[in-house]
Symmetry: C2
Subunit: 440 residues, 2 copies
């Protein structure tokens, strides 16, 4: 006899009192329901960050995987090491060498996408109340992890050259003056998600110096590093600081996300803890996925494929930026990314991307409001626009629809004055600017 | 310039002060180093729990996966839902129906092996100091998770019929009298790892009644449920209690572990939290793995394959039990499992399986000492013997070597009296017996 049958009522509500404190921070995003609408085919989604893998040669991938099953099937289908396949870890070191990193395969831990690497690093370092420093804005998936482990996120201003070193130094000082413990600086130096900017070369040295001086670890998250449109790969922070940087990489954007293969390269002592955390979390990452990636990398011109991806994304970036330039009303600002998937757009003063979203979805265009990328609820005037997935024509159509919504909002505002001044002031006083303010 | 180069010393030690409190419990097992020796081919390993997948038809699996890449490649290689593929979740409900469960696909969350399901459930429920009740002994991988989330594990006695209901009721009473919060009862009702026993039918009702009465959730972990040698699948606890049981399943033993596909079936409110936790942990479980399993299940007689697995494991169980009966000295006790992978063997009084392990490995046989399966360091007189992986001949050879080591230990003990009486008393006073005491 079930409790439901016996008691006449469900026990569902009673779970609320039983969850861990960390679970209170795990709430479904308020924009989640909208996104199920946004995934309908008639909606142009500029919201998602799905890589466009239609260019992958399915015959090559299929052949590589058939070979794998035939020649290495028992290993691919068996449990593997908690640290990940040794052959793949060697290949990962080859990939990182493109960014100047001399890493050892023994310091690499394979993870279930680099998302899991963020999760495991946070798990081993962060007690409730510990501070993580992150760019403003920052990657929504990392903020979710930090929240799930009850960290306090302190945002640091970016501009068109990425993280502002002076602001970083000041944030470290202020947090410590507050008596709080900083566990690491989380940064996406290349083709930032969502800000679209990269950390300038000269700043890389400065950021490393500040972190060394303050004795704070850097968590360098780099899923887009090989997807630059105009310049070669930037030199990784990790390339110049093996002991103070944990570097995260991923095959989700250079090959395909469905295998969920990412990695962390960490100082040896940290790597040991990461492996123990991985064993607790999953016993081991999927062997099949790892060997499939290994087989793809070793049988295919994967760098040629990455070049093809870059060219496709560049074309889409161009389509979006041209459409924005042609159509966006005065007062809107955005950056021109030279790699990656995202444009960060700030609306004309007085508009709110979050409250505008339902109307946009009704007008069959979707984006992610800027608030998703801040731990403190700011960012409402901005939005992330992704150009990675739709075709150039759809991107232009999406921008056209978005512009119509924005213009309607501006008219409404002029007529009724819907944006309260108090709110505008509050946003401006947070002390960090949108990264696109000095661009365009 | 790296910190190492600059400071002349590595920073490795300094990380020790930076880890989260939960990380202090993550230490490499002291027997880990031995196991790297134990994996050498000349050692008969009765230690590992790797399923023997040599029986899988590689041509069928290869064909299913080639088909998948050809017809559904873009979906298999793309991000998927955090909850898991809907088609696979329907098939999972069909699998669970074999054990009497009427579950809804919307209440299923796909996980990276059922290990990750244990991790996610613990993550959402357990604050430091919360109590998890578990069998004595219990699954080493689950104990690792509970330790990583700083839970207190309270063990409850088993006998040849599994968990002892009266002991469970008493443990709940005692924990609550201590003012502690019980978050769930973790139990493996079928072909227990490591104890080899199953929960008797009549006890299933009793355990459910005790949990209902005390209003405590049950976490039912069931990786071996379809691997019974003599009886059909047992009726799951979840089959009779949809609201108070979270059920965990896995394809690692019925198909192959290398895909890392497991699942949790949970009451709806809990399922929502599990999906949020999964999104933080990995964004989504691997699409490729899920679609590979889906394709295998729908194109192959997977139940016929499970029957073949059962027969293979039964033959190996027989080889091990016969060898034990033929060779083990008086005073050793073990159970005769009627499913799964494991025999739980208790040594003659005065012997210690943990201190004996290095000598066993030197004699080219490996096992897991019982201490690995207790949160409180007890279990030293026992060991887990796995018959799943080696051939029957190797199993007999392994038992022969093990018996030689035990007999040598017994001689040493008779000659020198190496087992301190104080320790023996301490073990006996813990209040739970080995599950094999009333068997054989």
């Amino acid at each position: 006899m079930s409790r439901r049958a016996r008691g006449g009522a469900t026990r569902l509500d009673s779970y609320v009192d039983r969850y861990a404190a960390r679970t209170l921070g795990m709430t479904a995003s308020e924009i989640r329901a909208l996104f199920s609408v946004a995934s309908r085919p008639e909606v142009v989604s500029l919201a998602g960050g799905m890589p466009n893998i239609t260019g992958l040669p399915l015959d090559v991938v299929g052949g590589a995987i058939s070979d794998l099953v035939e020649h290495d099937g028992p290993a691919a289908m068996q449990y593997g090491s908690g640290q990940g396949d040794p052959g793949l870890r060697e290949q990962i070191c080859d990939v990182m060498r493109l960014e100047g990193i001399e890493g050892h395969p023994d310091d690499v831990v394979v993870t279930v996408g680099s998302q899991q690497a963020v999760d495991l690093v946070t798990r081993i370092f962060c007690d409730p109340g510990d501070v993580v420093i992150a760019e403003a804005p920052s990657y929504v998936g990392a903020l979710g992890v930090f929240r799930a482990f009850q960290c306090d996120v302190v945002h640091v201003e970016m501009d068109g050259d990425g993280l502002v070193p002076a602001a970083l130094a000041e944030a470290i000082r202020a947090v410590r003056a507050d008596g709080k413990q900083i566990k690491f600086i989380y940064t996406i130096p290349n083709y930032h998600n969502p800000a679209g900017v990269s950390l300038a070369s000269v700043r890389r040295e400065e950021v490393l110096d500040i972190a060394r001086e303050a004795d704070v670890l850097i968590l360098e998250d780099n899923p887009y590093g090989l997807l630059g449109f105009d310049d070669g790969p930037h030199r990784a922070l990790r390339a110049d600081e093996p002991d103070g940087v944990i570097y995260l990489g991923s095959f989700s954007k250079t090959f395909a996300p469905g295998f969920r293969v990412g990695w962390a390269l960490a100082p040896h002592a940290v790597r040991e803890k990461l492996v123990l955390a991985q064993e607790a979390a999953t016993l081991c990452p999927p062997s099949f996925s790892q060997l499939a990636v290994r087989s793809y990398l070793s049988t295919h011109d994967w760098q040629g494929q990455v070049k093809a991806f870059r060219e496709m994304y560049r074309e889409r970036r161009d389509a979006m930026v041209e459409a924005l330039e042609d159509m966006m009303p005065r007062g809107a600002r955005w950056n021109i990314p030279n790699g990656g998937f995202y444009v960060w757009l700030t609306l004309p003063d007085g508009l709110d991307a979050k409250t505008m979203l339902p109307r946009a979805v009704t007008s069959r265009v979707a984006y992610v409001p800027g608030t998703a990328f801040f731990a403190d609820g700011s960012g409402a005037q901005s939005m992330r626009l992704s150009y990675c997935y739709p075709t150039p024509d759809r991107i232009r159509e999406g921008v056209r629809r978005l512009v119509a919504v924005i213009e309607e909002e501006m008219e409404l505002r002029e007529t009724f004055g819907t944006m309260p001044g108090a709110r505008r002031e509050r946003l401006a006083s947070r002390g960090y600017e949108s990264p696109n303010t000095d661009l365009r």
